[in-house]
Amino acid sequence: MDHSILGEQGSMKKLLLVGNPNVGKSVLFSSLTGRYVTVSNYPGTTVEVSRGNARLLGRLWQVIDTPGVNNLLPHSEDERVTRDLLMEEGGHKVIQVADAKNLRRALLITLELAEMGLNQILVLNMEDEARDLGIQIDVHKLSEVLGIPVVTTVATRKKGLDRVIQSLEKMRVGSCTTSFAPEIEQAVADLEPLLPEAPISRRSLALMLLCGDETLSAWLNARVTERDVARIEQICRALQTKYEEPVAYVVNRQRLLKADQIVDQVMRKGIQEFPRRFQRIGDFSMHPIWGLPILLTVLFLIYLVVGRFGAGFLVDLIENEFFGQVLVPWTQKAAQLIPIAFLRDLLVGQYGLVTMALTYALAIVLPIVGTFFFAFGVLEDSGYMPRLAVLVNKAFKLVGLSGKAVLPLLLGLGCDTMATLTARILDTKRERILVTLLLALGVPCSAQLGVILGMLGGLSMGAVLIWAGVVMATMLLVGFLAARVLPGEEGAFVLEIPPMRVPQLRNVLVKTTARVEWYLKEAVPLFILATLILFILDRIGVLETLQSTFQPLVSSWLGLPQRTTEAFLIGFLRRDYGAAGLYSLSRQGELDPIQVLVSLVTITLFVPCVANLMMIFKERGWRTAVSIVLVVFPVAFGVGGLLNHVLRWTGWTP
């Protein structure tokens, strides 16, 4: 995709916005660019990169809003994407956006950009907040020390925007760099002649390699002979043996010391404490006692938006009003014109592309997932999610996870497939496998959850509680056991907590749109594929054979009527469709209350849908995918059967 942009607009200069997370890059990006902004995932990652065009100083620029970084020595996927964008091609310019209140951390990046030899300016944003805190920065002095233009802004009020644009002309490579301990400098000097030509300086490449940056190895292997790669590795190893601590840490420390020196020269700090409104809410949301009611309120609001508005109102509107009244009848009429019965069924039959695939993709799942993306975007933008991770950290320890894992698990309530992809944000492989397993096992996606709650709501509150209790207990138990079986140490977690802010509507909408687009591109083809498979299985009679094969398990162990086999089968193709199958069975009076409960517990715990399985396969490898299925299948049927026998034995009726 990048290449196509290059092909069309190769002459356009690129302007990269780089900076720490939550410093106002996106706001500045919005002010600089026009209305048409594209948000896309950086190839092969879940990291979103926004691009837009801007006419500044009489020429057209492509402005790129890079993911927030704390360091250009990549540690997270975000940092890696930004570093890669900086390395992609020469000639581009960098606007570094900094939080004026947090100059020290910004300077760490400024020093790295100077080392890379990139043209840049430094924008000290949120200048008003810094002033309120009694922080005074001598901008002229700072500009002198760094050798680059420095300007102050308040991006949310577009203050200082003209200064940013004017200073584009005066962009320069920073003259202030760090000198490191003699051993490190020697190793850099040894490495430089071995390194290939790159858009960033050899010195910065050498330092990245010395810091053990493995993300560069593919890039390097493609450009350097095998012998040189071996020599580079040898130099890096030799340097590491001289330090007790990782070289990356030693280098960071020396950079920060340099940053501290600069801060001392240019900044004066008063001792004013400035009470910030939302900080109080932020603090409460991490509080061991107050955190809980806040969490419940947030969950309730999500339920209102996704459950009531999305799954209720919008689905009704689109499925019943549009699909049910208009689209499906019309297509059926149109299909009458097709003389071949086979094609007719393919379009509008029981497993038809319009009647099933499109109805499901666009009428049921899209509104639910869309509203979920919106709610999720609001949460993301507000800074609440990391606080939630803080709140649940201890509970998650029980199942071998850190609080960070709450993010993909929560996302799983939207779509397990996408959530599996975001397990990448977790630090250890062990955690990623655990989260993938729990997602596959017990987290129902929004569509499935909607159908399940609809069915259980018809029974009783007790039934809802039993369903939720059994599913959660199973997840806890399986997680607890898996954490003991899986090798690898538990990651001690470190998470930066961004300031609590009022979400920016434009930001949320742009992101939601990008994610909905993603859903349409990725998920809809899978729906069509799944429907085709089902259609074919039905045609060649395999569907029936499968049903009779699994009959003993389903009838005697689970105590369910034979027709539920079909629901489980299609539950594999689409989790929510399986639940929907059960729904229609119970509406036809074929399931008693215990059967409803047992079948729902079983289908919730049942194997993930094909799309999710493909994602597990892609992300975690086939071994893990197969192991997960081998765990999930017996657990689902085991727990379901057990529940059936316990309920029948106690004689309890839901």
Binding site: E245, A248, L256, P288, P386, A492
Partner: protein, 233 residues
């Protein structure tokens, strides 16, 4: 530790290094026995064997470090002073190896035996201060206080202690971060958390949250126990 100790000061009286080390070991043995309240001479024999016991007593009595009262031994003031310093060095070394370098109790013992002979008075004081004047060794036995500890009594809290021991609202300057979580060091330093940085503990439950400048950072208790700070009240 590549610490080279200058020998020759004090009252070595031309003794060889081995002799001196042996005497120190003797004093240490008796100090332990005294701590356990086993001051009868028969206990010395139980501890080091019959032949070695008479050697030990004779050598220490010759230096007027120990005297014998009936069937019990007693430290002379100089001997008691010397013995307590050796034990102090030994147990401080244990603390250092255990707390800072994260070594197991068994390894600690062996290395501490070597440290006790080579640490200078200055180094001992620095270590003691650095560790926050600990009261006991990792095995729970008392560390005899030194001059630095007496000065320190006037202050209330140890100088250096784990970040996890601060109370919410308290501030401290990071003195060191143990390399136990090597993989976290890079991330911590990227967030500006390095020795010399001032931090404030914001909350302990359900997860530790610290404030570093304008950054708020949450971390596991395990990590907070491995970041040591000099408290600023």
């Amino acid at each position: 530790m590549r610490h080279r100790h200058r020998r020759g000061h004090g009252s070595s009286q031309g003794r060889s290094m081995e002799d001196e080390q042996r005497l120190e070991e003797y004093l240490e043995t008796l100090w332990y026995l005294q701590e356990e309240g086993r001051q009868e001479l028969s206990h010395i024999k139980d501890a080091v064997g019959e032949a070695e016991a008479s050697h030990l007593l004779l050598a220490l009595m010759e230096n007027r470090w120990v005297r014998v009262d009936g069937d019990r031994f007693c430290f002379e003031p100089e001997g008691a002073q010397k013995a307590s310093q050796i034990v102090r060095r030994h147990r401080l070394a244990e603390r250092l190896l255990h707390d800072v370098l994260d070594m197991g109790p068994d390894q600690v013992e062996e290395d501490a035996c070597r440290f006790e002979h080579i640490l200078s008075a200055d180094a001992t004081e620095s270590i003691c201060t650095f560790l926050g004047h600990p009261q006991t060794c990792p095995h729970g036995r008392p560390i005899p206080p030194g001059p630095c500890c007496q000065r320190f009594v006037k202050e209330v809290t140890p100088l250096v202690r784990p970040l996890a021991d601060l109370n919410p609202g308290q501030q401290g300057t990071i003195t060191f971060i143990t390399p136990k979580f090597r993989s976290r060091l890079h991330q911590l330093s990227s967030l500006g958390v390095i020795p010399g940085t001032s931090v404030r503990l914001r909350q302990r439950h359900p997860t530790f949250v610290i404030q570093v400048g304008e950054s708020t950072i949450a971390m596991d208790a395990d990590l907070a126990r491995n970041i040591f700070v000099r408290s600023q009240g």
